[in-house]
Assembly symmetry: C2
Homo-oligomer: 211 residues x 2
């Protein structure tokens, strides 16, 4: 059995070698620089071999997306110790934005690529981690809304609003639009804009302590 097992292990090994090479290229050359042929060249196999381990390039991108979600989830979990849910939301927002700006290519694969979203029936499975993250934000929103006694505020809508706000900010920053609006103040603009979003919702209510 050890014979077949070793083979199996070697197959998994090569599969992760492909992914490692893909990550390395992604980090250095960006999403545009990532190609099947470069991966093949890096691991010293022919391009055709890649297709024995992955259906196509999208399958590799999908794996990279999951890696990105793991990194982001870890970064956000770091902030979960904050007791005040409003301050926690702010910290989560900043961490999310920080991740997006420091990991441009991963961010684009996770949130801007259409590739992992093609088959509607697969969506809930394929974007599993994205859904889980949204659920986590929604629960934090519920906490914050309850703590501040804000009536008639739907937690899902609030989560979507905050998400789209930071998502918009990250995308504007990544495509240099903020730099055009106010050169040299991209980071400040981002933080202030996030505060406008949070303050406009939470500042007129009970809990108003800021970090």
């Amino acid at each position: 059995m050890s014979l077949a097992d070793r083979k199996e292990r070697e197959k998994i090994k090569l599969k992760s070698k492909i992914l490692d090479a893909a990550k390395k290229i992604l980090l250095v050359q960006g999403e545009r620089g990532l190609s099947i042929r470069k991966i093949a060249g890096m691991i010293e196999y022919s391009p055709a071999t890649i297709y024995l381990y992955f259906k196509d390039k999208d399958a590799i991108m999908h794996e990279l997306m999951n890696t990105g979600f793991t990194i982001l989830t870890n970064a956000l979990t770091q902030e979960s110790s904050e007791a005040n849910p409003v301050i926690r939301l702010r910290k989560l927002g900043l961490a999310y934005i920080h991740f997006g700006i420091k990991n441009k290519d991963w961010y684009n694969i996770m949130f801007n690529s259409e590739k992992p979203m093609q088959h509607i029936e697969k969506c809930s499975v394929e974007w599993d981690q994205g859904m889980r993250l949204f659920e986590y934000i929604r629960l934090t929103c519920r906490e914050a809304v309850d703590a501040c006694h804000i009536p008639d505020m739907d937690d899902e809508l609030l989560a979507l609003h905050l998400w789209s706000s930071v998502h918009g900010l990250v995308n504007l920053a990544l495509t240099d639009r903020l730099e055009i609006i106010k050169p040299g103040h991209t980071q400040a603009l981002i933080e202030q804009s996030l505060d406008v979003a949070l303050d406009s919702i939470f500042l007129n209510h009970s809990s108003r302590s800021q970090s």
Copy 2:
């Protein structure tokens, strides 16, 4: 003089023929389907000829971006007759979102492509129309903030916040993320999320009439 003039006119004619073909391909096959060779094929010239009229593909994309801005600006101007600046902001937001969703490829060229943004010194010139649009939103925000007597609210920050909110919504919608969150309710989610943004800022103040 008519000889040289006719030549000149024919050059301009072919240049706009190239752009027309590019627009046609963009509408039917999307940004990904747009290629120099397809443009050349459509106007029945060789690919190399394109390069006599445009520096590269980015130059063509830039022209398409400007066309997109003209369409969007027209759509937004349509809403400028609304007297109440808060309701006007809402209508502008909806029109912006509508444009983004109905003109996916143009939207991406205008707001998500990095191409027109490469040279920092050129930025203010190259994204001239984008800046003008932002200025228009900023002024409307100023009006709304004044009308509602909201103290300490920076109009530029508010404009950025609202812009990033709708930009985020459009991008999430275009990449099918909203469909995953709540299948079949993309449009409703968008409108409700926009209302959360506007209401959280303006609803606790004087002017609260809604359309």
